[in-house]
């Protein structure tokens, strides 16, 4: 993918907020791609986990907002345990999700889950899913 970088497009506030919410030092990442290689969902993502880190630390908020990647992440921590730099990408993904959810923008509409599904889903699926996808 090609991305145009100009001082005007870089969102410093976004980078600061992601750092604060995730508690992670974004500069730790040296772009080796172990996160993408170990992610079981990477093939369904439009931006790979490695790309998301790079775009985040550049402050390219719009590219990230237009990507589904953070919403495809299942917080399985495969990236976290395999990172040679000790960077916890799961926490960065969560921070980016929360920056959207905290503006009262939900990723799913709970009312779209059919009554039958609601009966069948285990409680841990409903509780965890609603916590990850709604504000």
């Amino acid at each position: 993918m090609s991305v145009t970088i100009s001082p005007k497009r870089l969102r410093r506030v976004f980078v600061r907020k992601v750092k604060e919410l995730s508690g992670q030092n974004l500069q730790l990442c040296y772009q080796c791609g172990m996160c993408s290689g170990n992610c079981p969902a990477a093939s369904n993502m439009d931006l790979s986990p490695r790309q998301i880190i790079e775009l985040t630390r550049l402050g390219l908020e719009e590219e990230i907002a237009n990507s589904k990647t953070v919403w495809i992440c299942a917080s399985c921590f495969a990236c976290t345990v395999n990172c040679p730099r000790g960077f916890d990408l799961s926490k960065m993904m969560e921070a980016i999700r929360l920056l959207t959810l905290r503006k009262n923008i939900n990723y799913i509409r709970p009312e779209d889950i059919s009554p039958q599904e609601r009966c069948e889903l285990p409680q841990i699926a409903m509780v965890s899913g609603l916590r990850k996808f709604t504000g």
Binding site: L21, A74, S75, T80, K91, I124, V127, S128
Partner: protein, 292 residues
Amino acid sequence: MSLAYYPGCTLKTKARNLEEPGIASLEVLGFKLEEIPRWNCCGAVYSLAEDDLIHQVAPIRNLIRVKEQGKDKLATLCAFCFNTLKRANLLMRENAEKRNTLNSFMDEEIDYGGEVKVVHLLEVLRDEIGWEVLAQKVKLPLRELKIAPYYGCTLLRPREIAIDSVENPTILREFLEALGASPVDFPESTRCCGSYQIISNPDDISEYARDILNSALSHGAEALVLTCPLCDYNLGRGQKELIKKHNEFKEMPLFYFTQLLALALGLDSQVCHFELNYGSPESLLREKDLLS
């Protein structure tokens, strides 16, 4: 010996086939699992944001219930609850600032500093009972049952809460060997089933399930052994659809580890609630003369 026990919401409804055989088996092995009083939902997932302390209150309240009883250990059976409770406990142990804030917020509770040890039932079997003793108690060895251990995520990741090696876990293999079954290793045993993505992205979950189950099958497994009710749902619910969609796909029975334990210890099969399982486990067990 009595052990404080946290069931969690799912085990009381959808996953009675995980809980009931677990409690009954532990009793045979000399451990009485005593449900903690006034337990509440743990929140299912550990809160990952640095500024989000309110979601830590629910799991910590459960740990306070254990401390109030004068106990220092809490056993869990649901892999999700294990992860959430153990991580919240570590937070209280290791982060003084957040511990103080949470203790001040929960003014009506006694102060908590992570004194309780959170364990999963598999750890009780391995560390307190031991595989040799367990093997001696087996009345019905699960001979010829080829089972692939499926760990999923929450017992092994992140590293600080893992019950076994993150890269090469063996606890389920050792468990199956103690029961006389034949464990079948396969490369997807620690791959995520898709977890809560089931409510937003069910089509992807079916494909993850297909990959995981086909891999187990191609390595010679006849069934999968699980510890998590969400893995069970994600790997089980779509199997009938997958059979219709893909010619090569074969139905794969899914067992909770506690069901195999109860069966091997010679308990009445009714306690296993096989009727709640996916993938016709009873036919496989009859085929192997393990069920009348």
